[in-house]
Symmetry: C2
Subunit: 340 residues, 2 copies
DNA sequence: TTGAAAGCGCTACCAA
DNA sequence: TTGGTAGCGCTTTCAA
């Protein structure tokens, strides 16, 4: 089928090979007649330019490298909307996505950049003190972080506004008339990895609770499993007083927490308020649907790609980094306590 | 940091550029001394070969294209283990993975092959009469299917052995002492798309039930949602008699079916048997853990990649297609009816 | 055992 | 408005 080169097209159209190139790139004015003949030849041969040759000559691969946290770590489930959105944004901008697993660590970065496999890199699941950052910052190509480290080293970052998520959660608890909020905290893995958002959420939750005159309590870490959720719920109910509001920031623990409550005969929305931090889809999948602050993986990804392409267009010498925060939204569903 | 070429390495090592190439590829005997000097130069410059140039010269990209069913269709959740395994197998064989979304349809295939973006393609989520197959079969590069169409057109396929999955499920029902099995069937989307495994499972279920002397009933399609599951469960209990065994082949519906049963006070493992077709992870995530026939996404992916690399090594002229089936396993958990 | 050199198929510069 | 041509950085043949 394929196998034709721009020389074949040129020959068939009766023009020079460089003219074919210019017709494709539009980087030079071409007479209507010539363009027509060349286009006809392209169509006839179903010509497609060789990506390797193009990359070699132009120093651009039209590929974005995506480093995803497969392997040991990772909210392996919440990952898909990120990947999907990134792939889709890439295609919209005429880029492809090269998928690399994070277990390669630093080597992935040096390989992607060193071999000119891509024009830019998206790095996910950033730890507070991520060892890949120095390498990323020294990279020849732009790197954008999804997640915020303690020190971004000048790299652009995009993430959910976790402090705002905490504030929204606490505000919902206050509005529902609670006087205590219990944060059913993060997984041990997230804490161990040093995910920065753990602290960002926590501090904001404490502050917001104080400002609203609520007592703030925490159960952490929470093991993400049935038993872990049962234990956490037991503890939360023990320390939370008669009518606690439960904030559940670890999205993968949400279904289990709701289960554990229900098992004990504690009905969310009647006996306690539950506010989860998870995607809207996940919130609607629990029984009953849980009031949630959305994590907006699609928005976060889209913003990251948008910023990345700005960096890529305004080739070089753009103001480097900066932190972009995506606003979460709270949606009240069936687990917010309502006055009878 | 980077930006060095093999010429730089050659100069530093005092050899010709082609010698550097041969040291890297090992395609020519090199004296120990020369190799040592070249390797030292490579290390010193942290030289990495340019992927585009290499692809252009060698006609090999060391990239596998992966077409994933994002977008409208898709068990969007069950996708991750496939992607992860494929990426991991690829790296083990010194390949990278280019991720393409299926919404490009046929264009994705022609682009990947036509532009020489990759050396082979993995196509997921195959419909019974998939319109991409003719294009795939005519492709210049190997294409492997995860899933089995009605006519593979000579393309290699790998998939779970769904007939065997049906047989295992029915055998479990029989062993638990039931005299009726009700299949809570597939989603309307899967049926509409014409997923081949729907029919493969169904036919085997009917046959196995007949052979075991069980009555076979079906509720299909099942809407994958809380309400859909409730309706399906109501219908299943209506037609299923006093002690039905429920087979749930649509993995995404499993948690909802279990929920719906529990809501009605019907306890899986005490009142009915539930056998799900899903990953072991998903089976253990329900309450109670559900007896399941595993879908083995990692095994299926690994087998596909193994076959793909065989095709890629034994360059050209290997016997083309063939269908590989991966055996499912049944794990009895807490939803198999046990005699009191 | 090694070097020189001819491409691979494209982009982009220099002329016309 | 177009053509000729010099690379891009590698692999691989042909000579030595």
């Amino acid at each position: 089928m394929a196998g034709f080169t721009s020389r074949d097209v040129a020959r068939l159209a009766g023009v020079s090979q460089s003219t074919v190139s210019y017709v494709m790139s539009g980087r030079r004015p071409i007479s209507a007649d010539t363009r027509k003949r060349v286009q006809a030849a392209i169509d006839q041969l179903t010509y497609q330019p060789n990506a390797g040759a193009r990359a070699l000559a132009s120093q651009r691969t039209q590929v974005v490298g995506l480093v995803v946290p497969f392997g040991p770590a990772g909210d392996t489930t919440a990952l898909l909307p990120f990947i999907e959105t990134i792939a889709s944004c890439a295609r919209d901008n005429d880029y492809d996505v090269l998928l690399v697993t994070a277990d390669e660590g630093t080597a992935a970065l040096t390989r992607l950049a060193g071999r000119s496999l891509c024009d830019a890199i998206v790095l996910m699941n950033i730890a507070a003190a991520d060892t890949r950052l120095p390498v990323a910052a020294a990279s020849r190509i732009p790197v954008i972080l999804i997640g915020i480290p303690d020190d971004p080293l000048g790299l652009p970052c995009v993430d959910l506004d976790y402090p705002e998520a905490a504030r929204l959660s606490v505000a919902e608890a206050a509005a529902a008339g609670h006087d205590r909020v219990v944060v059913l905290g993060w997984s041990a893995e997230e804490v161990a990895r040093g995910a920065n958002y753990v602290g960002r959420f926590e501090r904001a939750a404490v502050e917001a609770a104080a400002a609203a005159g609520l007592e703030h309590l925490a159960v952490s870490p929470v093991e993400v499993s049935r038993e872990g959720a049962r234990a956490a719920v037991a503890e939360a109910l023990r320390i939370g007083g008669p009518r606690p509001a439960l904030l559940v920031p670890a999205s993968s623990a949400v279904p289990w927490v709701v289960q554990a409550l229900t098992e004990r005969g504690v009905v969310p929305g009647r006996d306690v308020t539950v506010v989860a931090l998870c995607t809207d889809a996940a919130a609607m999948a629990t029984v009953p649907p849980v009031t949630n602050v959305s994590t907006e993986p699609r928005d976060v990804s889209a913003r990251a790609m948008q910023t990345l392409f700005r960096l890529l267009e305004r080739d070089r010498e753009t103001p480097p980094g900066g932190v972009e925060l995506v606003a979460p939204r709270l949606t009240r569903r069936e687990t917010t306590l309502t006055p009878p």
